[in-house]
């Protein structure tokens, strides 16, 4: 394949699937937000961050113009009790992934500035302790799109 075609394929992929961003040493994929009932003031976002570099990365937070505030939480279910604990620093070792998924790590998205519906795209900026800020596009998915 010619280099030019490669670029078109890459651009095409980004347009078709905005949840995939492959920039730099961090690979971000399957970033999505669960569509929530009307008037919900709290939503959850998920995705996978893979550290393909040889340095550790520490996720310290996330921001977005779409939400008043974003917290990173981890759900645990222990002895039948569901608990959510805020996470302030999460280490991602070289070659390892951090997976945000239902009933585990999630971005708690507080105070959306409009009602988000399936298909909407929201941009989040992930913040790391080495000063790296990485943007990621998250697609809002309805319940029927989400497999159990």
């Amino acid at each position: 394949m010619k280099p030019m075609t490669n670029i078109f394929v890459l651009v095409g992929l980004l347009v078709v699937n905005p949840a995939v961003a492959a920039e730099g040493p961090l690979l971000l994929d399957n970033f999505w937000i669960r569509e929530s009932p009307p008037a919900s003031q709290v939503l959850a976002g998920y995705g996978r961050i893979h550290n393909s570099s040889s340095n550790p990365y520490v996720l310290t937070g996330a921001t977005s113009e779409t939400f008043n505030r974003i917290e990173i939480h981890r759900t645990t279910i222990l002895a039948d009790i569901v608990r959510m604990a805020p996470q302030h620093k999460i280490l991602i070792k070289p070659g390892e992934s951090l997976v945000f998924e239902p009933n585990s790590y999630h971005f708690m998205l507080l105070g959306p500035n409009s009602r988000l519906q399936a298909g909407d795209i929201v941009t989040l900026t992930l913040q790391f302790d080495n000063g790296v800020n990485q943007e990621v596009a998250m697609r809002v998915r309805s319940a029927s799109e989400i497999e159990e």
Binding site: V42, I81, M84, N103
Partner: protein
């Protein structure tokens, strides 16, 4: 051999045959009867209570503001889940699993007809009936959400071993509530009948519920 001897032998043979026939009838009927004793179902996810436990009386309101009491749980199977609408992760995940369960049970004949799906709020300060209405109907228009005074919720949860903890003095309006993850199955006599522990899968919930309903009908 004279006549009386022969009749004695005939009599003895007759008695023997009768005994064998009687024995065969006993064996056959026991074989007939044993499989008809209902066997407790083999369940994928649920744990059935050895003795169903009548729910305590309680007084809450549903998402339309109508009274919801123990009597509201009679005549149908009900699945009770404890959660709150400001919970972004586990509660919508479970509500979605219940939505799928409802869909899978759609054409199933269960004792008492359609299953009631009930979200019991463990955050009554924020979960008004109006708020619950928007939340539960998003998942299924027939789902029920119930709320009420904290004391009234405790009346229901305490006896069922359901735990939840609200912060004493929340610093913001976005406080979190720890709560039980289990889904309780309540039978058509308003008795706590079985519990589904996490992780919850719609297919397991639906198939266990069918088995439990059949078993319940056989043991009435």
């Amino acid at each position: 051999m004279n006549r009386s001897n022969r009749s004695k032998i005939d009599l003895r043979t007759g008695i023997n045959i009768a005994a064998v026939v009687a024995f065969a009838i006993v064996i056959a009927s026991s074989l007939w009867w044993i499989p008809r004793q209902p066997h407790p179902p083999q369940l994928k996810q649920a744990t059935r209570l050895p003795e169903p436990l009548l729910l305590p009386s309680f007084q809450l309101v549903d998402q339309h503001g109508a009274e919801f009491t123990r009597a509201s749980l009679r005549k149908h199977w009900s699945l009770l889940f404890f959660g709150y609408t400001h919970c972004p992760d586990v509660c919508p995940t479970t509500m979605f699993t219940l939505q799928k369960t409802a869909r899978q049970l759609h054409n199933t004949q269960l004792f008492g007809g359609a299953v009631q799906f009930v979200l019991v709020s463990v955050d009554p300060e924020r979960d008004t009936p109006e708020h619950l209405a928007r939340f539960v109907s998003y998942f299924n228009k027939d789902f029920i959400g119930i709320t009420g005074a904290p004391q009234a919720i405790d009346d229901l949860t305490r006896q069922l071993g359901i735990m939840y903890a609200r912060p004493e003095a929340p610093s913001s309006d976005n406080y979190l509530v720890d709560h039980s993850a289990s889904i309780l199955l309540v039978d058509p006599q308003a008795r706590f009948y079985a519990v589904f522990s996490p992780p919850h899968l719609a297919g397991n919930l639906a198939s266990d519920l069918k088995k439990l309903s059949n078993y319940y009908a056989q043991t009435l």
